[in-house]
C-alpha cells in the first residue's frame, strides 16, 4: 500500500484525518448531539427573554454587549462548555470501551494515538460549532439594534476566542480523565463544580491549578457590578502566559492520553 511508504508523521496525520471524519459524522448524527445542541441554545432563549423584557420595560436597560459579556458568555464558560467538554471528552476513550466497538478501531492500520487525536478533534469541533451558533444568535438577539457597530464584533471575536480555548483545554483534560478512570463523569463533575469552583478563591498560587483561572485572565475584570463574582480572581495571569499555559495543558493531557491509550489493555468483557 502506498500509504505505508509515506513518512510516519504524514501517515499519522492522514490517520487522524480519517478518524476525525468518521467520528465527526457519527457525532453529528447521534441523538445526544441533538440534545446538547438544544442545551447550547438555551442561552439564546435567555437572551430572547431579556430582550423582550427590555422592549416592554420602562426601566433603563443594560447595554446588549454588557449583558452578552456578563451573562451569556459566562453561562457558556461556567456551565455549558464544561458539561459538553466533560461528556464528549470522556467519550473519546470510554465510549468505544463501554460500547465494545474498540475492536473495530484497534484492528485498522492506524496508530492508536490517531484514534485519540482524531476523536478528540471531531468532538471538539462539534462542541465549538454548537456553542458558536448559540453564541452568535445570543449576540445577535442582545445587540440587534447595534449590529452595524464594528467595535462590538471585536468583543465578540475576543470572547469567542476564549470560548474556543476553554473548549480545547477542557476537552483535552477530560479526554485524559476518560482514558484511565472508570467513573470519569463523577470525578469530572467533582473537579469542575467542586475543585474549580472553590480553588479560584484561594490566595496564592493554588488558584493557578484551575483551567478557569487562565480563561478568566483573558476577560476584563470588573470589581463592581452585579455579576462581578463571575469574573472574580485574586491574582490574574498575563494573557500571553495564560495562552501558553492553556496550550501546554492541552498538549500535555492529549500526549498523556495517547500514551496511556497505546499502553493500556482494554478488556471488553461480555
Amino acid at each position: 500500500m502506498k500509504d505505508r511508504l509515506q513518512p510516519r508523521w504524514r501517515y499519522l496525520l492522514d490517520s487522524i484525518r480519517r478518524v476525525f471524519s468518521v467520528f465527526f459524522f457519527l457525532g453529528r448524527k447521534s441523538r445526544r448531539t441533538r440534545f446538547f445542541f438544544v442545551l447550547s441554545f438555551l442561552p439564546v432563549a435567555v437572551a430572547l427573554i431579556i430582550k423582550f423584557n427590555q422592549l416592554f420595560s420602562e426601566r433603563h436597560s443594560l447595554e446588549g454587549i454588557y449583558l452578552f459579556t456578563n451573562i451569556i458568555m459566562l453561562f457558556y464558560l461556567q456551565l455549558i462548555i464544561l458539561i459538553l467538554a466533560l461528556f464528549y471528552g470522556t467519550s473519546v476513550c470510554s465510549e468505544d470501551v463501554e460500547g465494545k466497538t474498540l475492536s473495530y478501531l484497534l484492528t485498522r492500520p492506524i496508530p492508536k494515538s490517531s484514534i485519540v487525536l482524531g476523536k478528540y478533534a471531531a468532538y471538539t469541533l462539534i462542541i465549538i460549532i454548537m456553542t458558536t451558533l448559540g453564541l452568535l444568535f445570543s449576540f445577535a438577539v442582545l445587540n440587534i439594534d447595534h449590529l452595524l457597530d464594528g467595535s462590538l464584533y471585536l468583543t465578540l471575536f475576543r470572547y469567542w476566542g476564549v470560548l474556543i480555548l476553554g473548549i480545547v483545554a477542557y476537552t483535552a483534560f477530560f479526554t485524559f480523565f476518560g482514558s484511565f478512570l472508570r467513573r470519569s463523569i463523577f470525578f469530572g463533575l467533582l473537579f469542575t463544580f467542586g475543585w474549580e469552583s472553590v480553588i479560584q478563591y484561594f490566595p496564592g498560587s493554588t488558584q493557578r491549578f484551575a483551567i478557569a483561572h487562565y480563561l478568566k485572565s483573558f476577560l476584563p475584570y470588573s470589581s463592581s457590578g452585579r455579576f462581578s463574582f463571575l469574573t472574580f480572581r485574586l491574582e490574574p495571569t498575563r494573557p500571553g502566559i495564560a495562552l501558553l499555559v492553556l496550550f501546554l495543558i492541552t498538549a500535555a493531557f492529549l500526549g498523556l492520553t495517547c500514551l496511556l491509550f497505546s499502553l493500556k489493555e482494554y478488556i471488553l468483557e461480555d
Binding site: 423584557n53 451573562i71 461556567q78 456551565l79 461528556f87 463523569i185 463533575l189
Partner: protein, 289 residues
C-alpha cells in the same frame, strides 16, 4: 399413581406469590451500590452535616460550657423548627443528594435498557409497577436514611440533652414535618432520577443529565433573578422550589415571596411528567423501526 401413568393433568400445586415481588430488585440495587468504594465515600460524606447539626444540638444545651468558643450571637444554635429547616434545605445536603443520584441512580433503568434486561424482568411474575417500585425503593433507602433518620435523631437528642419533653410539647407537629418533607424530597428526587435514567441507554449521559439539569436550572434562576429582580423566577430552580416547600412545611418564612403551592405545583408537574414517561418507556418489548 406413578409418573409413568400420569397423563396430561393440570398442576395441583399452589402458586405462592412473594408478598414483596419488588424486594429482590431493591436489595440487589442497594448491595451493588455499596460495592463501589467511591459511592461509600460520597454517601457517608453526606452525613457530615447531620453530625455537625447533632453536635450543634449538644452545644446548644450546654451553651455556657462552650461560651469561650462561641463569639457573638448564639442564635444560630437555637434548636427550633428553623434549625431543622436549615438542615433539610441546606444547599450542601441537596447537592449531595444529587451526587448520590448521579452515582447510584443513573444506571438503574438505563443499564436495563442497554442490556435488554427488561425482557428478563417481565418474563417473571413481575408487573411494571413492581419493577418501578423496586427501583424507586433503592433511591428511597439511600435518601430517607439521609433525611428521616437524622431528623428524628435531632428530636431524640434534643429531648435527651434537654432532659424533658418541652421541646416536643412546643412543636408537636415537628416529627410530622420531618416525615412529610423527607418523603416529598425523596419522592421528587426518585422520580427525577428514574425519569432521566429512562431517557437513555448510556449511563454516562444520564449522570450528566441528572447533574446538569439541576445545576442549569439553578444558574438560570440566578441570572434571571439578578437581571429582573422578580421573585417568580425562583420557580425555575428545582433547588429553590424544594427550599420554598421546606420553609412552608417547617413553618418558616421562605427565602422568596412566592406562594408555596406554586413550588408544589411545579414539582408535582415534573413528577407527573416523570411518571407518565416511565410508564411508556418501561416495556418488555422494544419495537425498532
Amino acid at each position: 399413581m406413578t409418573i409413568r401413568e400420569k397423563g396430561y393433568t393440570h398442576w395441583d400445586g399452589e402458586l405462592k406469590e412473594r408478598r414483596l415481588p419488588w424486594w429482590p430488585i431493591t436489595w440487589l440495587g442497594i448491595r451493588l451500590a455499596f460495592k463501589k468504594k467511591y459511592f461509600k465515600f460520597i454517601y457517608f460524606g453526606s452525613f457530615i452535616p447531620a453530625f455537625v447539626f447533632l453536635a450543634g444540638i449538644y452545644i446548644s444545651e450546654r451553651i455556657e460550657d462552650f461560651r469561650y468558643m462561641i463569639k457573638g450571637s448564639t442564635r444560630i444554635l437555637e434548636v427550633n423548627p428553623a434549625y431543622f429547616k436549615t438542615y433539610f434545605t441546606s444547599d450542601f445536603l441537596l447537592f449531595m443528594m444529587v451526587m448520590i443520584l448521579v452515582v447510584s441512580a443513573a444506571g438503574l433503568i438505563s443499564d436495563d435498557l442497554k442490556y435488554n434486561s427488561l425482557q428478563l424482568y417481565f418474563s417473571r411474575p413481575l408487573e411494571k409497577r413492581d419493577y418501578l417500585i423496586g427501583k424507586a425503593a433503592i433511591i428511597f433507602f439511600f435518601l430517607l436514611l439521609l433525611t428521616v433518620v437524622p431528623g428524628f435523631l435531632f428530636i431524640i437528642f434534643k429531648l435527651l440533652f434537654s432532659g424533658g419533653f418541652h421541646f416536643i410539647a412546643s412543636y408537636p407537629w415537628l416529627p410530622f414535618s420531618v416525615i412529610v418533607y423527607s418523603l416529598l424530597l425523596t419522592s421528587f428526587f426518585c422520580l427525577y432520577a428514574l425519569f432521566l435514567s429512562s431517557l437513555s441507554k448510556n449511563r454516562r449521559y444520564v449522570s450528566i443529565l441528572i447533574f446538569a439539569a439541576y445545576l442549569f436550572l439553578d444558574i438560570l434562576f440566578g441570572f434571571f433573578y439578578e437581571n429582573f429582580r422578580k421573585p417568580a423566577f425562583a420557580l425555575l430552580s428545582l433547588k429553590v422550589n424544594l427550599q420554598q416547600l421546606g420553609a412552608y412545611i417547617f413553618k418558616q418564612k421562605p427565602a422568596y415571596p412566592v406562594p408555596w403551592y406554586w413550588s408544589f405545583l411545579i414539582l408535582l408537574a415534573i413528577c407527573s411528567l416523570a411518571y407518565f414517561v416511565l410508564r411508556s418507556k418501561i416495556k418488555g418489548v422494544e419495537v425498532v423501526k
